[in-house]
Amino acid sequence: MGEQLPFTMEQFYKYISQGKLMGGKCKKCGKVHLPPRPLCDNCLSKEFEWTEILEKGKLLTYTIIHVAPPQFREMVPYAVGIVQLENGLKIPGMIINVEHEKIKIGMELTLQFDTSTVQSQWPQWPRYHFKPV
């Protein structure tokens, strides 16, 4: 499925807008890249295939942002963290639907896709968030 699509951030976010978390799997060494890359950082292969990644993971670390740049200022305070997914993959994102005092390292989180239209001129990317399982 979709092998011909470019292994770019742009395509990664197109998949997010379709409700899919997709990584680029190296056909030579098997390493999965999230986000995808044009060159495998392990074996320098240029051959990849798209692979769907399980949307569940564990919280590795987090912070509560109180001072934010203009585009996020209305949301403060908000929580962001880095989540460990399968295969040792890690991605950052906002953590929603939970009281900040209840956020704990190691808690299980799952992805929620925010496919609402993005207003910014560039990039036209959707966002995803993490929420408790």
């Binding site: 951030m9 976010y13 986000p35 590795l60 670390t61 987090y62 912070t63 509560i64 942002i65 109180h66 001072v67 934010a68 740049p69 203009p70 996020f72 200022r73 949301m75 305070p77 908000y78 962001v80 963290g81 880095i82 890690k90 991605i91 950052p92 994102g93 906002m94 390292i105 990039p123 990317w125 966002r127």
Partner: protein, 390 residues
């Protein structure tokens, strides 16, 4: 060349750090240059200086790029090759490396390296946005992670893994403010109590206002030469005997560790090996305390203590001005200030002052070997330099 001087610093200059209202980047850089020229009467700048490398991170602040040529002209060095280096907050650490390469190549006997940034005329949200450009856009900035937020993620992980406390973080601020209080060029020359630091407003939990370095204007420069000719210019050259630089993934989420900066570890290993010194030989250090947690992680990455012991090392008092290994005698980025492009060579300037016994009230006695640790962004670049007096 193990343990041998790579280059020698024959002069150095630093502008006042702070809110330099009404001054432009090129004018601030000229302030640092004036001091460097004054210190070195045997130097004929127009004749002797063969190249300039200047660290500068953000053209957004003044709508002014092309910094190399601009500051060279204002330094009275029109027509010399002048190049800007940009590695975020390590921009002038990288300028120093570029200068070392230029001298070691044999092409240039005398080189000026330095850095500059003008930030305080912008609003805090604007500065926050400009600084964030040194982090990953598609995953970090896009999901609302600010620059303090990145170091907060490291702090939370460090606290969880090693039991580091918010008090230990605040102690870094108290120590560096004490040192900065003694530095007439520091931005914020005042003491801070532990209580005040701990009760300051939250920026990105667990980091509070007093865990963050300052938004500052300033410039720094060094004049470096081939070691063989250094005595022509000064009786007290300071030799650079080790230099390391490394990079890492731009996104901290891609890195193997959230509690250590691998680039800094690699750069430190390169510098120690080149200098042929042991960690115990380091008498004084300037480390990149952009946030208090960064100083604690720096202790570990540089081998001043084992992994996870950074908080305890802070608590032990050994890194205070009168301790076994004083760290950030200048006040660090926390109190002296952090004009990002200027920081790397400003750290080298402090080591130069200390090793030549010109640090006045904050002078540390019996120094031989110093170290400077400069980090770009959240750790995707690091440079480490080791300095020795004769």
């Amino acid at each position: 060349m193990k343990g041998k001087p790579l280059v020698s610093i024959v002069s150095a200059g630093l502008s006042k750090f702070g809110k330099l209202e009404g001054m432009y980047v090129r004018e601030i850089f000229a302030e640092a240059v004036k001091e460097a020229f004054n210190r070195c009467p045997n130097l004929d700048p127009k004749k002797d200086i063969k190249a300039l490398f200047v660290g500068h991170m953000g053209e957004s602040y003044e709508h002014q790029g092309h910094t190399g040529a601009t500051v060279a002209d204002w330094a009275g060095l029109l027509h010399i090759p002048a190049t800007r280096t940009e590695t975020a907050c390590a921009s002038s650490g990288a300028a120093l490396r570029a200068g070392i390469f230029a001298v070691l190549s044999g092409l240039c006997d005398v080189v000026m390296v330095g850095g500059v940034e003008k930030m305080t005329h912008r609003t805090t949200p604007e500065v926050t946005e400009f600084l964030a450009m040194a982090s990953d856009f598609p995953f970090e900035q896009w999901h609302g992670i600010t620059f303090p937020g990145l170091y907060a993620l490291m702090a939370t992980a460090h606290m969880h893994k090693y039991g580091t406390t918010e008090e230990q973080l605040a102690m870094v601020a108290v120590k560096n403010h004490h040192n900065g209080f003694l530095n007439p060029k520091a931005h914020m020359q005042r003491e801070v109590t532990l209580e005040k630091a701990l009760s300051s407003r939250v920026i990105a939990w667990p980091l509070k206002l007093y865990d963050c370095s300052l938004i500052t204007d300033g410039a720094s420069c060094l004049i470096i030469t081939k070691p063989e000719i250094a005595k022509k210019y000064t009786d007290t050259p300071i030799h650079i005997i080790g230099s390391g630089q490394a990079s890492d993934s731009i996104g901290i989420y891609e890195r193997e560790s959230l509690t250590s900066l691998i680039a800094a570890k690699i750069a430190a290993k390169q510098a120690y090996e080149m200098a042929d010194v042991k960690i115990e030989d380091i008498d004084i250090a300037e480390v990149h305390d952009c946030f208090t947690i960064a100083e604690i992680i720096a202790y570990e990455d540089l081998g001043f203590c084992t992994l996870g012991e950074g908080g305890h090392l802070m608590e032990s008092g050994e890194t205070q001005l009168e301790g076994r290994l004083p760290v950030n005698t200048s006040g660090g980025l926390k109190s002296k200030g952090h004009p990002v492009g200027a920081t790397g060579t400003a750290q080298a300037y402090e080591i130069y002052l200390q090793l030549t016994e010109q640090a006045d009230k904050r002078q540390v006695k019996d120094l031989k070997t110093g170290l400077a640790h400069n980090v770009g962004g959240s750790g995707a670049t690091a440079t480490v330099h080791i300095f020795r007096r004769e």
